[in-house]
C-alpha cells in the first residue's frame, strides 16, 4: 500500500492503518530499535509505542516521507529506553557505535558545559554538509541507524575494511570540526 493511502487510513481513524504500517515498515522499525536495545521484547515495545505515537500524530500531521517520520519516533523511543536501562548490560550494535565515538571524538576537556543537544546537532549537520554523499550515508548508517559494517558495506558497495577505515577518518574529521568550533579543546 502506498504511504498516502496509509495516511488516509490514519485520517479516517481506521485501525487498519497500524496493520498496514507494520506490514510495510515493521521490519525496518524493529531492526532499528533492536540494534539500539539488543533486546527483542524492548524493541517490540518501542515499535508498538511508535505506532501509537504515529496514531496520535496523524492527523493533523501528514508526514512525507512516512518512513523517516516513523524511524525518528522509533529511534527517539529506543534511545530513551536505552538511557533508562543503564543498569542493564546491553552490548548492542548501538553500544559499539557509541563506544567508537566515545573513544575517538570525546575529549576529557571540553567547553560545551551545558550545551544542548539541539546546538550540537547543528554542528554535526554542518559537519555532515562538508562530507561527500557516500561518506554522509556511511556516517548516518553507523551512528543514526547503528548498522553493522557488513550492512553498510552491502549498502554502499565497499568492503567492510574500507568502511572501517572511512569511519575512523570520519570520526577524526568530526573531532577536528568540534575542536574548530570550540566545543572540544
Amino acid at each position: 500500500m502506498e504511504d498516502i493511502e496509509i495516511i488516509e487510513l490514519f485520517f479516517v481513524r481506521d485501525q487498519q492503518a497500524i496493520t498496514e504500517l507494520d506490514a510495510k515498515y515493521g521490519r525496518v522499525c524493529h531492526k532499528l530499535s533492536y540494534q539500539i536495545l539488543n533486546n527483542q521484547f524492548d524493541a517490540e515495545e518501542c515499535v508498538n509505542d511508535a505506532y501509537l505515537g504515529t496514531w496520535n500524530a496523524i492527523p493533523p500531521a501528514r508526514p512525507n516521507p512516512l518512513l523517516t517520520f516513523l524511524c525518528k519516533i522509533v529511534r527517539n523511543l529506543s534511545i530513551k529506553r536505552y538511557h533508562a536501562n543503564t543498569a542493564i548490560k546491553r552490548n548492542s550494535l548501538y553500544d559499539v557505535a557509541l563506544s567508537e565515538v566515545e573513544h575517538d571524538v570525546m575529549a576529557p576537556d571540553s567547553v560545551e558545559g551545558e550545551m544542548e543537544a539541539k546546538a550540537l546537532s547543528k554542528l554535526i549537520e554542518n559537519f555532515l554538509d562538508s562530507l561527500s554523499l557516500e561518506n554522509r550515508v556511511i556516517f548516518m548508517r553507523r551512528y543514526w541507524f547503528s548498522d553493522s559494517y557488513e550492512e553498510i558495506s552491502m549498502r554502499v558497495g565497499l568492503t567492510e575494511k574500507n568502511i572501517s577505515v572511512r569511519l575512523t577518518r570520519l570520526r577524526k574529521q568530526l573531532k577536528d570540526h568540534l575542536v574548530q568550533e570550540g566545543v572540544l579543546i
Binding site: R27, K31, P65, L67, T68, F69, C71, K72, R75, N76, I79, Y82, H83, L98, S99, V101, E102, V105, M106, A107, S110, E112, M115, A117, K118, L120, S121, I124, E125, L128, S132, L133, E134, N135, R136, V137, M140, R141, Y143, W144, F145, E151, S153, M154, R155, V156, G157, L158, T159, E160, K161, L178, V183, L184
Partner: protein, 229 residues
C-alpha cells in the same frame, strides 16, 4: 561531550540526512562493483562456483575448502570469497595466494589512474580513464567481496580465459558492460564502455605479473578519485 549528549544530538538531526541514508542504495560511481542493495528483502541464491587449483599448491590449503559464492539479489549480484576451515589448527594467509595481474594491453585511449591493493584480503583494483572521462575498472582478487549491478542488465555465460564467465550486458547501450570470471581460485572483473567482444579481448589480456611490475605506474589513491580529502 558525553556519549549521551552525542546520542541526543543525533536525535535532533534534520530529516534530510535520515531520508538520504534511507534511500541510498547505490553508489554514485563504479568501484568494486556498483552495488545496489535491498539486502533484507532479497531472495538469496547461493552457488559455490569454484574450488581453487590452489589445493595443489599448498599442503595447508588442503585442509580448507576454497571457492567463490555467487548470490543473486533483486538488483545486484554479490560474489564473495568462501572459506571453510576443516581443521581448526590450520592458519593460512589467503592474501598470500593472491597473484598480481595486469592488462598487457591497455584499452586504446585509456590511461591507468588508480591502482590499489588491499593486502589483508588480497584484492587488487585498477582504474583506467580516457580523455572523455570514461572509466574502465579492473580487479583481481583472492578474497573479499565484489558487487555487480544486475538491474537493467542481461547476464549471459561467456567463454573467457579458458573458463566460463559471466557477461553483464546493459539494456541501455549507453551504460557500461561488465565481465566476471573465476580462475585458479581468483576472481576477475572488468567493467567499461566496451562491446562484449572487446571485454573478452581485454579479459584475455589480464595476465599475472610480478609485484614490482604493478608498482611501475604513477597512481593516485582511490580516495582522491572519489573526491575525498
Amino acid at each position: 561531550m558525553t556519549p549521551k549528549l552525542f546520542s541526543l544530538a543525533m536525535n535532533e538531526i534534520s530529516d534530510r540526512y535520515i531520508e538520504e541514508a534511507l534511500s541510498y542504495q547505490v553508489r554514485a560511481k563504479s568501484n568494486w562493483g556498483k552495488s545496489l542493495l535491498r539486502f533484507a528483502l532479497a531472495a538469496c541464491l547461493a552457488i559455490v562456483i569454484g574450488f581453487g587449483t590452489v589445493l595443489a599448491v599448498s599442503a595447508e590449503a588442503r585442509e580448507i575448502v576454497f571457492g567463490w559464492i555467487k548470490e543473486q539479489y533483486e538488483t545486484f549480484t554479490h560474489y564473495e570469497y568462501y572459506e571453510e576451515e576443516k581443521n581448526d589448527n590450520s592458519d593460512i594467509d589467503i592474501s598470500a595466494l593472491f597473484v598480481p595481474h595486469r592488462l598487457t594491453e591497455v584499452p586504446t585511449g585509456y590511461k591507468e589512474i588508480v591502482g590499489e591493493f588491499d593486502e589483508e584480503i588480497g584484492q587488487q583494483f585498477t582504474v583506467y580513464q580516457n580523455e572523455e572521462g570514461k572509466m574502465c575498472f579492473v580487479s583481481a582478487a583472492s578474497g573479499g567481496n565484489t558487487f555487480v549491478e544486475s538491474n537493467g542488465y542481461t547476464i549471459q555465460p561467456i567463454e573467457v580465459a579458458g573458463v566460463t564467465g559471466e557477461l553483464y550486458i546493459p539494456d541501455d547501450p549507453t551504460m557500461d558492460s561488465t565481465i566476471v570470471w573465476m580462475k585458479e581460485n581468483m576472481f576477475f572483473y572488468i567493467s567499461g564502455y566496451f562491446t562484449p567482444e572487446e571485454l573478452v579481448y581485454y579479459a584475455e589480456r589480464l595476465q599475472p605479473v610480478s609485484a614490482q611490475e604493478t608498482e611501475s605506474v604513477d597512481k593516485v589513491p582511490l580516495s582522491e578519485l572519489e573526491g575525498e580529502e
